[in-house]
Each structure stands twice: as structure tokens, then as C-alpha cells.
């Protein structure tokens, strides 16, 4: 579909550009004899990824359309975290008036604190709020309801708190997000291999060796004699 859409989009750009070039040509002609600056060919760079930016990004849609079309809030306290790529996360949230009232009744005035995101590295742990590997705080503003967070760390698990920071250094959590893991950005350094047989072939093996689950790959693989293609049996198995 991208192919399709882009060809249309570029078509429109091409027409506009040619029109602009034409205007420019006319202007140059009337001004004198300076050579017409050649416009760049508008053929897209269709390498592997054809979703590359073909045009400078325009104004964001929020600016173009009336904001009231979709509800700005849904009356639900939530903080949702998404992994954008190996280096960036994206969080959005909604804090209800009830939540704010609850907060101010327990912890002094809203005005004496400022909003912040606490980004926890929770790789390899069951996070309980206290045991993060490390965290960073990002000061935000009261108008923000979403944030692109640069962690710079592929293949790590993160969880985010939206909270209020006080002058004495206290950080009080309002909302906690789900946990996400950033994708890898390089080859794994793990070379241990696990192999799996599936379906027909496996059934004959089960018959032969009496293994109960068709997906119980370890058992299959541990029997060195039947490991396919001469792969030697490594000492430990990856955890999934």
C-alpha cells in the first residue's frame, strides 16, 4: 500500500513543484538571463524502506483540525508506555480530577510540586517500585499529556512513573505504566542454539522416544543423537 500511496503523494508534489518551477522560470526570464536552477528529480528513494520522509513533515494534524472532535480525556487514570525503537519510548497519560484531589489531600498543595516522569530500568527483575536497576527523572510541564523519552538503551526493560517532585527531593507517584522492552539493535552475543522439530517429523520422534509435548524442544535437542545437522548440544538453554 505504501508504494501506492507514495506514488500518489509524490504525484501531487511533482505537479506543485513543476508549477512552482514554471513560475520561477517566468520570473527568471523577466529578470534576465541567469540559468534556471534545476529542480531535483522527484523520484523517491525506494531503497528497502519506502516509508522514508519524502517531504518535510508538515504541520501536525492536531493543529489543522478542531480539537473537540475526539474527547480530550476519558475520565480514566492511565499511563501507557510504548517502545518506539531501540532508543526511544513513548508515554501518554491521563490524570483525573479525582486523582488530583486525592493527591492534594494526602500530600500538600499541587502548586508546591512539579510534574516529572521517573523512568526505571527494570531489566531482569520483578519490579515492586523499590528495586529498579536504576532510574532517571525527566522534568515535564503541567500541560503535557505525552512524552517521547530517549533512553538510548536497546534490549532493556523499562517502566515509568508519572509523579510530582517536591523541593525537598521527594517524588510521589501518581500513575505507574506497564513495562516494555526496547528492541535489540545489534546481533545477539548469545550463540547457544536450540532446535525444534514440528509436526509430522516430530510425531515419529515422539513415537520413538516417548516425548509428551510436541513443543518440548529441549528434550528433543538434548538427545544428541537426533539433533539435526550435527549441531552439538550446548550446555545451557536460553530462557523464554
Amino acid at each position: 500500500m505504501e508504494m501506492f500511496f507514495l506514488s500518489w503523494a509524490i504525484g501531487i508534489i511533482a505537479v506543485v513543484s513543476i508549477a512552482l518551477l514554471w513560475i520561477r522560470k517566468i520570473r527568471l526570464k523577466t529578470m534576465g538571463s541567469s540559468p534556471v536552477e534545476e529542480i531535483k528529480p522527484l523520484i523517491p528513494d525506494l531503497k528497502e524502506e519506502f516509508s522514508s520522509e519524502l517531504t518535510p513533515s508538515g504541520p501536525f494534524p492536531e493543529d489543522q483540525l478542531p480539537k473537540e472532535e475526539l474527547p480530550h480525556s476519558y475520565g480514566i487514570d492511565r499511563l501507557v508506555l510504548l517502545a518506539r525503537d531501540p532508543y526511544w519510548l513513548y508515554a501518554y497519560w491521563e490524570v483525573t480530577a479525582t486523582k488530583i484531589a486525592e493527591f492534594t489531600s494526602t500530600h500538600s498543595a499541587w502548586e508546591t510540586s512539579w510534574p516529572a516522569l521517573r523512568v526505571y530500568d527494570v531489566t531482569g527483575i520483578a519490579f515492586n517500585g523499590e528495586n529498579a536497576n536504576k532510574y532517571i527523572d525527566i522534568g515535564i510541564n503541567d500541560q503535557a499529556d505525552n512524552w517521547h523519552i530517549n533512553t538510548g538503551e536497546p534490549d532493556r526493560a523499562f517502566c515509568v512513573d508519572l509523579g510530582r517532585q517536591f523541593p525537598d527531593g521527594r517524588f510521589i507517584t501518581l500513575l505507574r505504566s506497564n513495562t516494555v522492552t526496547t528492541p535489540r539493535a545489534s546481533l545477539s552475543d548469545r550463540e547457544d542454539e536450540e532446535w525444534m522439530w514440528i509436526e509430522g517429523i516430530y510425531r515419529s520422534i515422539r513415537h520413538q522416544y516417548g516425548i509428551s509435548s510436541p513443543l518440548f524442544a529441549e528434550e528433543v535437542a538434548e538427545r544428541a543423537g537426533i539433533i539435526p545437522l550435527g549441531v552439538s548440544s550446548p550446555g545451557h538453554w536460553p530462557e523464554y
Partner: protein, 528 residues
């Protein structure tokens, strides 16, 4: 010499569901008509010819559920036929207009192709599903499915039920359309995240595709790189894209489609000719648009363009097919010397690249298939299913979360231009799950409203809208579609919850957003 390995060509055919009963001349609706004439029918034409001549081949095609639904929609069928008839009328005029000019040969080609399109379209009762099914049944092509509305699944995983529903509906429609369970799936945008494979497994999908790094950056190093599939822990296989062969076709600079003898896409009589002449064939409001009649070849990098020479272009396509095959032979000879099994090269493409953008693409594909069959014995065409049947034992890894979009991850579909959609999409998905749990046995009007809620949610989830927003052009339509479907959903939710369903409005929605007639909202129910 003997066989050294396999080549699996995969074409992903998809367009978003665009159907505007209220206006016959919706510009975006033309995407479908152009793709039918330029891509889908030419592919069917190739299959027809190859079969008639007894040329054996194997090809994988994913037909997305929105596309299948549009193929089967009688309104769009009728509109396409109207469109095609207008095109034929123009083609006849063009043959006359161009006689004794260097453009005449090209005009004849267009006319012939358009008449051919009409013949094929009518032969299959105006429903191209019948055509693809025919070649599936004869064992030449393997048709696989895609998510229901091409949702970008990793970013919908906050509500796994919504992802499960995307797969469920897709598999269901596939079965109804093609009479069998799809063997595999094209994940929209090749977008994967760990755990997605568990849902695929529930629907007996054996395999999906990943971009190169999705396999290469897996939890453990893949022993054979992308030249053999890997199994996810669930046992679903992932095939990785071969970068070398992809580049030969994709790249506009280094790839075949940029060749100077090939047809230039951006010189169209819709823009080039007198307004009065083209007026009946452009938008009724007088907006100039592409008509598909293009008479120049790429020629070079400047704006100077020479007339297109169809025979010369075909020679080039044949040459390029030979070159592509030669490179695969070399690649497989090399790979097989390193591997202790037959390697597989997987080359996925947007189907619409062939014919629509790269005019000669379908011919190239046909030449390639013939050459592979008759001119060598190193490379054999295959499908993922056949390969898995032959090599059922594969390495187990967790693939890397990835997509085939720019930069390889989620950024295209999650950037500042479109990040605002997720707070609404996630909420709507959660509400849909709530509805399905709250009304386990709805009937009558409520049943219809619940099903329509599911359709509206799915339409809002199309990755196409986020993609278009990220490109910065023609954004309005994508924003409007996202907002409209979400608003429809939210209103239906309120009406269902308040037990006040406006039947007239519901009926309008059912007629307008009419895909997935077999929708059953209960697929959104939480797994207990």
C-alpha cells in the same frame, strides 16, 4: 550443476478499505481501480498464461482482508467497471490521436491491456477473489492472509484481545473466501513484537515474515542468518527478508525500476494534455489526476523525456529478469557451500510495486518465472509452506521486535505526527473488550450495534492512516478516517451502554462501513 537452494517470492497486496457510497468520484477510491488494472489483473493474466503453457511455478501472495472485501463488494465492482469503460473509451481515442506519432505503439499497448482487463474482470464475475482462488486451487500460488484491517499489531498489544480479533477476523474471512485455512500470515508492515506469535499459533498460522534484522537481531544468533526460517518459542516460523535481492528491485537508484528505458510514472496525459480533451476522464470537479496514459520513458535524471518504446522496455525487463536470476544463482551457490541444508532466499515486495509503480514489473516477474523454470537448475521457486515441509526442524529464537518501515522499528507509525491516535485506539479497544464481556449473548439491535462497534474499531486501527500522517502529504483524509471511525465507535459504545441504540444511524453505518459481514463481536471477549 543441480539444485542449490530456493527462492520464495512474496507479494503483499493491500489497500486500505476505501468505499464511499455517498460519492462516486472519491479520489482515494481510485487507488483500488488503478491497482486492479495495473497490478492485480496483470498478475492474474500472467498466471493464466503460465498455466496455459504448463509452466510450473510457486509464488506466495498475501491478500489483505480489506482488499479481499473490496474485491467482493458489488458497489466497488460496479464502479470499477464504470471506471474501466471510461478508460477504454479514452484508449480508443488515444489510439486515434497518436497515430503517426512516436506514441502510437504505446497507445496500442494501453488499449489492448484495458480490453484484456475487462475480459478478465468479467470472466471472474467481477470478483477477483475467484481468480486468485483458481490459481490457489491449482497449486501455483499460496495465498496467505494479513491482519483484518492491517493494524500495526505491536502498538495494539496493550489490548491483546484487539490483536487476537484482528487475526481471528482475517483467518475467518480467508477461509470463507478461499475455502481453506491460511497457512501463514503477512504481519502488517512486517511488524513483530515478542508474544505476537502466540496469537498466530492459536489460529494455526505456521509462518510469518520479518525484515532482515528481525531475524538477525533475534535473542540468539540465527545459525543460517535469514537463509533459513527460525521458530519462535511458540513454534510459529519466521522467514527473514534477504536484503540483497530486495535492493535490486526496490532501490530507485540502483534497482531495476529506475532504468531509463522503463516507463516514466510522472508524465501522464491527465496533466499534460489540453484540459478539454482530458476533462471527461479526470475528476468531475476539474481536478487533474493521473489517467494511467503515460507515453514517456524515464530517459534520464533531467526533465527531458523521450517517448516510451514498449518493445525496448520489454527487452530490458527480460534482461533484468536474467540478471536477477543470475545473481540468485551465484548467491545460492555461495550459500549452499556454507550451509548443511538447502538455503532459501525470501524476497517480499509490495504487490503494487509491480505494474502500478514499475509498469514493466509484471512482465519482469513472468520472465523471471520462465527463466527459472527453463534456463537453469540451481534455483527453484518455492513457498514457505513447502520449505517447512521439507525442513521441519529449525532453530528456536525470539525474533527482534521490528518492522520494514523506515529505520526498521515502530517510528513511522509512532512519531509526532501520529502519536495522538494511540490514546484513542487503546481506549476504544479496551471498551470493545468491555462490551464483549458485558453482553455475552446479545441479540437483535444490540447484536448489530456490537458488531458494528467492532468494525468501526478495526477500521480506525488500519496502519495506513498512521503511515499517511507520517508522510506529511494527504494527511487530512487519514486524520478524518481515524477520527470518524473512532467517533462512530464511541457513540455506539455510549448508545449500547445507555440502552438507546439509534437504528437509523446504525443502519447507515452498516451500509457504509460494511466489511466483515460475518463479524461476531464476541471474538473480543477476554480469555478467562
Amino acid at each position: 550443476m543441480g539444485k542449490k537452494g530456493y527462492l520464495a517470492m512474496v507479494l503483499h497486496a493491500h489497500l486500505p478499505y476505501i468505499r464511499h457510497p455517498e460519492n462516486e468520484f472519491f479520489l482515494e477510491e481510485r487507488w483500488l481501480y488503478e491497482a486492479i488494472t495495473e497490478t492485480y489483473i496483470p498478475l492474474i493474466d500472467i498466471f493464466e498464461r503460465l498455466e496455459k503453457e504448463g509452466v510450473d511455478f510457486a509464488l506466495t501472495i498475501s491478500l489483505s482482508p480489506p482488499l479481499v472485501s473490496m474485491f467482493a463488494d458489488s458497489l466497488l465492482q460496479q464502479r470499477y467497471l464504470n471506471h474501466l469503460n471510461k478508460q477504454i473509451e479514452l484508449a480508443d481515442k488515444e489510439v486515434e490521436r497518436t497515430s503517426f506519432t512516436p506514441f502510437y505503439e504505446t497507445a496500442l499497448v494501453y488499449r489492448e491491456r484495458l480490453y484484456q482487463s475487462r475480459r478478465i474482470f468479467l470472466e471472474y464475475d467481477c470478483n477477483l477473489v475467484n481468480a486468485f482462488k483458481k490459481y490457489q486451487d491449482s497449486g501455483k500460488i499460496e495465498i496467505i492472509t494479513c491482519a483484518a484491517t492491517h493494524g500495526f499489531l505491536p502498538l495494539l498489544m496493550t489490548e491483546p484481545e484487539a490483536v487476537r480479533a484482528q487475526i481471528n477476523i482475517a483467518v475467518d474471512l480467508h477461509k470463507r473466501s478461499f475455502g481453506r485455512n491460511p497457512a501463514g500470515i503477512w504481519l502488517p508492515e512486517c511488524a513483530y513484537t515478542a508474544g505476537l506469535d502466540n496469537i498466530l499459533k492459536e489460529f494455526n498460522l505456521r509462518f510469518f515474515f520479518l525484515d532482515t534484522h528481525g531475524v538477525m537481531f533475534a535473542s540468539c544468533r540465527p545459525r543460517y542468518g535469514v537463509f533459513a526460517p527460525v521458530y519462535c518459542p511458540s513454534g510459529v516460523a519466521a522467514f527473514g527478508r534477504d536484503p540483497e535481492s530486495s535492493k535490486q528491485v526496490w532501490s530507485a537508484k540502483e534497482g531495476y525500476p529506475g532504468d531509463h528505458d522503463y516507463r516514466e510514472f510522472y508524465r501522464d496525459i491527465g496533466f499534460d494534455l489540453d484540459y478539454d480533451y482530458v476533462k471527461p476522464y479526470i475528476h468531475p470537479d476539474g481536478i487533474r489526476i493521473n489517467t494511467g496514459f503515460k507515453y514517456y520513458r524515464i530517459t534520464g535524471n533531467s526533465h527531458h523525456k523521450e517517448p516510451y518504446n514498449p518493445k525496448q522496455a520489454l527487452k530490458k525487463a527480460s534482461l533484468h529478469a536474467g540478471n536477477f536470476m543470475f545473481n540468485r544463482e551465484l548467491q545460492l551457490k555461495h550459500l549452499s557451500s556454507l550451509m548443511d541444508r538447502l538455503p532459501i532466499i525470501v524476497t517480499p515486495y509490495d504487490a503494487e510495486l509491480f505494474g502500478h509503480w514499475w509498469f514493466e514489473g509484471p512482465q519482469w516477474l513472468e520472465y523471471l518465472i520462465r527463466k527459472i523454470r527453463y534456463d537453469q537448475d540451481t534455483v527453484e521457486l518455492t513457498t514457505p509452506s513447502k520449505y517447512l515441509d521439507e525442513f521441519p526442524c529449525n532453530q528456536v529464537v525470539t525474533p527482534c521486535a521490528s518492522s520494514w518501515g523506515n529505520k526498521g522499528y515502530n517510528e513511522v507509525w509512532l512519531c509526532r505526527a501520529n502519536d495522538w491516535i494511540y490514546r484513542h485506539l487503546h481506549l476504544a479497544a479496551a471498551r470493545m473488550v468491555d462490551l464483549a464481556n458485558s453482553y455475552p449473548e446479545a441479540s437483535g439491535l444490540r447484536y448489530r450495534a456490537l458488531n458494528q462497534s467492532a468494525r468501526e474499531l478495526m477500521l480506525a486501527q488500519s496502519s495506513d492512516w498512521a503511515f499517511i500522517m507520517s508522510t506529511g502529504t494527504m494527511v487530512d483524509y487519514a486524520v478524518k478516517r481515524t477520527k470518524t471511525h473512532l467517533k462512530n465507535f464511541l457513540r455506539l459504545y455510549d448508545e449500547i451502554k445507555n440502552n438507546y441504540i439509534s437504528e437509523g444511524w446504525l443502519k447507515t453505518l452498516e451500509e457504509k462501513d460494511n466489511l466483515f459481514s460475518s463479524m461476531d463481536y464476541s471474538i473480543y471477549r477476554s480469555k478467562s
